[in-house]
Amino acid sequence: MTAAADTVLVVEDEAPMRRFLSAALQSHGFRVVEASTLGTAQRIATEQHPDAILLDLGLPDGDGLTLVRDLRTWSSAPVIVLSARDREDDKVTALDAGADDYLTKPFGTSELLARIRVALRHSRAQRVPDDPVLAVGAIRIDQARHEVNVGERAIHLTPIEYRLLVLLARHPGKVLTHKQLLQDVWGPRTHQTHYLRVHMAALRRKIENDPARPRWITTEPGVGYRLIDR
C-alpha cells in the first residue's frame, strides 16, 4: 500500500468534524486538503485532482450531490459520502449518481480508514485487466469455467445467483445499490427489488453457513449489499 502519497479531499462544513477527519487521515499517512463549501470543493477538486474525496452531503452553499455529478463527468476518483442512519434515500441517490461508498455517522477511525482503503484499491484495480479468477476471502470464482468454491466446498449456483456473486466479487468491500444490481442482472426496466432480495437470499443460503448471520454478503438496509473482503 503506497498510501503515503495519497491526497484526500475532505468536504465538510462542520469544523470539529473536519478536524477529526483530517487528524485521523494525516496520522495514517494521507495528505489532506479541506473544503467547507461546495464552491471550494469544486475548485480544489479541479486544481489538485485528489485521490479520494470524503463528502458530507449537506453543505451550506448547495447539495453535495452536485459535486458527485460534476466530478463523474471527468474524474473517477472515489467519493465516500458521510451520512446519518435515517438518510437512506440520500445515500442511495448519491451512490446511484456515482459515489463509491458511504459512512454512517457516527463512525470510528478504523471504519473510516477501511472504507478509504477499499475505495482507493478499487480506483487502482480498474487499470489492470480482468483476471478470470476472482477471489474474495474464502470465495473463489473461476469465470472461465463458471465454477464457484467457498473454501473447499464446490457451490452450484443458478445463472442469476452466479451473476450476482460475480458483480459483488468484482467490487469486494464496496456497497452495490439495489438499482445497480437489478439493472446489471435484469436490465434497465426492472425496479422490483423483491426479485433481487429473493435471489440474494437463495445465494446466501448456498454460500453462508448461517444465512441469518452472514459472513460474506452483508445487507445494507435500504441501500443494497456488500461482499466482505476480510
Binding site: 445463472p159 451473476r163 423483491h194
Partner: protein, 344 residues
Amino acid sequence: MISLITVGVATLVGLVAAPFASHADQAMAYLLAILVAALGGRGAGLTAAVLSAAAFDFFFVEPYHTFAVANRSFLITFGVMVAIGIAIGSLVNRIRVAEAESRERELRAKAEELRSTLLSSVSHDLRTPLAVITGMATSLRDSAQGEQREELDTIVGEARRLSNILTNLLSITKVESGAEPRREWVPLDELIGSSLARLEPELAEHPLTLEVADELAHVDPILTEQLLVNLVENAAKHTPPGCAIEVQARRDGSAALIEISDHGPGLPPGPPEQVFEKFFRGRGVKAGGVGLGLTVCKAIATAHKGRIEASMRDGGGAVFRVWFPDDGAPPRLGDAPELLARAS
C-alpha cells in the same frame, strides 16, 4: 331557507308573467330556482324541487289553488323538477367532498414536509457532535493503553448508546406522526441478519440460536430492522451474560411472525402490556436506557397494522412475538421479467 326564497321568487315571476307566459315558461322559472337552490347541496336541491312542483301545481296547473292534477302530462314536469334537484345537488355534494379531501391532503402534505424538515435538522444537529465525539475518542483509543484505553472505550460505548436512543426517538416521532411504512417483500433471513449485524457489541456475551424460515415478510425493512434491534437489545440487556437468546422467524397464515425469547428473569410483575408503555423501565436503573425501545417496537408494529405481545415463557424467561400481516398478495417469483443473465 334558500329553497324557500328561490321557489318564492319563481312563483312571483310566474304570477306576474301569467297573462303572457306559457306553462313551459313558468316551469323554466322553477327549474332556474331549483338550479340555484341545488348549489347549496343535495338537501336544498331536493327541497326546492319538491316545493317547486307543489307551487307550480298549486298556482299554475288546472284546477288552480288545489294540489289536484287534471292533465297527467304535468306529472312528467314534476318528475323532471325532482330529478334535476337531486342530480345537481348530488353533483355539488360530490364536488364539495372532493374539495375538502384535497384541502386535507394538502394540509397533511404540508405537515409531513414540516415534520421531516424538523426531524432532519434535529437529527443533523444532534448527530454531528456525536460523530465528532465518537471519531475523536476512537482516534485517541487507538494510541492509548491500559486504563486510559478502557476509559476511551467507555466514551465510545456511551456515544453509541446515545446515538441509538436518538435513532429510537426519531423513529417514534416519525411513526407516531403517521408516516406510512414503505413496505417491500423482504426475506426473513435478510431482516434478521441486518438487525443482528448492528448488535455485535451487545451480543458478544450472549449465545444466539436462530431458526429462520426461507420465507418473506411484507414490511418496511428499515423500521422493522429498528424493531428487531430493540427487541434483541432488550433481551441482551435484561439477561445475565452467557444467557442464550433465541430468534425464530416464520410465516403464520397471511402474516410473518418473529419471536424473540430469552432465559432471563422474565417480565416484571404486573400486566405484560405495561412494558410497551412510554418510559416504562423494568428492573431498576441498572439496565440503562430511557424506556423507549419497546414503545418504538409497539409503534412500528402498529404502523404495519400488526401486533406485538410480551409473555412469560414456560420454564422462565420472556418471549416477545410480533406479527406483520401482509398488505396485498405475496409476489409470484415465477413471473420474473426477461432475464438477461448475460453470462460473463
